[in-house]
């Protein structure tokens, strides 16, 4: 059975970062991981020397690969902070350099907006779906990117089953489509009951592929349904595409509003303009007696928006038909467009459209010139 000592012994034949001390005695080896014949080794080097030590890295990899019982070998260089205790190595083989890809617009996509909430369970995805359909009802060309990789709900909300096809170029994926809206979601690629158990870098790379390697075509607006909270996915979106703005969905009760405030703070931090706040589950009209109950209190989101100087985009009632139409893949904006509920969504969509296209363009990122 292959063990760590075998690996270290093999590395005795490779000179370490100083060019003479054998690697296994150099103290630069930061971690050896063996899993099913796959070997991962991290070597700590000063980042400035990463390039010149590539030969050492390759030699170490070749030595390990040559050992009997080794299926594959991955040797990575990890950054060392001079004078400081060594950073923990990415066991299991990370990248010597983590890079957030440069912000680039997506060709053909005019505006990208994020629909976000500070916490889960406020009806963000239902709102994103109906908002997208509302924008489409106003005559815009709309796409929806489901960035909630851990809890994708767009396939169900749009009533789309099946897997996306390859685009004619054989490189990109064609988005799925229903009700005139293009949709891409991890939910098309994994079973509904399957769990996506990923670390942050996987989420980042999946989102990048959904942005760049999906044939979105010409879109006026791409609506991004963000996962709840303020984590990797949100940061990836904020770093990799020029977001035109963010819409925050919140229920009116205090607990939800505290989290909504965090969402607003996050977008402020990454300089993404706030389009406004939507109050979801705003009130309940009893189907039996017609009486109105403010189950989660009322008006909190409007108040919160005003406190932050953000526009209030509208209130959506807590309503059985919205829930039923969402679960059955017949979103209310298309299945009952004349209903008061659908009109509430379209009214929100109008305000979002006006903010996006009538207002001044958001501050463009600076031009970069290298002489």
């Amino acid at each position: 059975m292959l063990n760590k000592d075998d690996i270290l012994a093999a590395l005795a034949a490779v000179p370490g970062p100083d060019g003479k001390t054998p690697l296994n005695q150099s103290g630069a080896i930061d971690g050896v991981t063996i899993r099913d014949g796959k070997v991962f080794v991290a070597i700590r080097v000063h980042p400035a020397r990463a390039r010149e030590l590539e030969a050492m890295r390759a030699a170490a990899e070749a030595r390990i690969k040559a050992l009997p019982g080794v299926a594959s070998a991955l040797v990575t260089l990890t950054a060392e902070s001079a004078g400081a205790p060594a950073a923990p190595a990415a066991a299991g083989g990370g990248h010597a350099h983590r890079r957030a890809p440069e912000t680039r617009a997506i060709p053909g996509v005019a505006k990208i907006i994020a629909v976000a909430s500070g916490k889960g369970g406020v009806g963000k995805s239902t709102t994103a779906c109906n908002l997208a359909l509302g924008l489409a009802a106003l005559g815009l060309k709309v796409g929806v990117l489901d960035a909630d990789v851990f809890g994708p709900s767009m396939p169900r909300l749009f009533g789309i089953v099946g897997k996306p096809d390859l685009a004619p170029d054989g490189q990109k994926l064609k988005p799925m489509e229903n009700f005139g809206v293009k949709v891409m979601s991890i939910g098309f690629l994994v079973d509904e009951g399957a769990a996506v158990v990923w670390r942050g870098p996987m989420v980042m790379s999946a989102l990048n592929q959904f942005l760049r390697e999906v044939e979105w075509g010409e879109l006026d607006v791409l609506v991004v349904d963000m996962p709840p909270g303020t984590g990797d996915a949100q940061l990836t979106m904020a770093q990799n595409v020029p977001l035109s703005g963010a819409v925050i969905v919140s229920t009116p009760q205090d607990l939800s509003l505290i989290d909504a405030r965090r969402g607003m703070a996050m977008f402020k931090q990454v300089n993404v303009p706030l389009i406004g706040v939507i109050e979801n589950m705003s009130y309940f009209i009893c189907p039996h007696c017609g009486g109105r109950s403010d189950i989660f209190a009322h008006g909190g989101a409007r108040h919160e928006a005003e406190t932050h100087g953000a526009p209030f985009l509208g209130e959506i009632p807590l309503d059985m038909t919205i829930r039923e139409t969402s679960d059955s893949g017949q979103p209310i904006v298309v299945s009952a467009p004349a209903s008061a509920q659908a009109k509430a969504y379209v009214a929100v969509a109008e305000r979002v459209r006006d903010a996006l296209f009538a207002g001044a363009a958001p501050h463009a990122a600076p031009r970069i010139v290298i002489e």
Binding site: H46, P47, A48, R49, A50, R51, A79, E80, S81, A82, G83, A84, A87, H97, R98, R99, A100, E102, T103, A238, Q239, N240, V241, P242, L243, G245, F267, K268, Q269, V270, N271, V272, P273, L274, I275, G276, H308, G309, A310, P311, A355, G359, P362, H363, A364, A365, P366, R367, I368, V369, I370, E371
Partner: protein, 92 residues
């Protein structure tokens, strides 16, 4: 829409003099030169490794709407310089 902290967004970042100087321009005409060594020393990255003297800027790119990343000749490229930080550096 609410614009967030946008007045500190530069209009242009120009790497000059063989990478020894970053010229930051703002709307309204303010233009400031920041030496590469000073920029490198101010890195907000968790990797605070010391830079060799004479370090130069070899690459620059924008990150979202809020920051720029510079690559330096010593291989350091993990610092995201927010517009606010650049403004602070520009103002001395």
């Amino acid at each position: 829409m609410v614009e967030a902290a946008s007045d500190s967004t530069p209009t242009e970042l120009r790497v000059r003099d063989g990478g020894r100087v970053l010229r930051v321009s703002y709307a309204g005409g303010m233009t400031v030169d920041i030496a590469a060594e000073r920029l490198r020393a101010a890195t907000p990255s968790a990797d605070k490794s010391e830079a060799p003297a004479g370090v130069t800027i070899v690459g620059a790119e924008t990150i979202g709407n809020y920051a720029a990343r510079f690559s330096f000749s010593d291989g350091h490229d993990t610092g995201l310089y927010t517009w606010k930080l650049l403004r602070e550096l520009a103002e001395g």
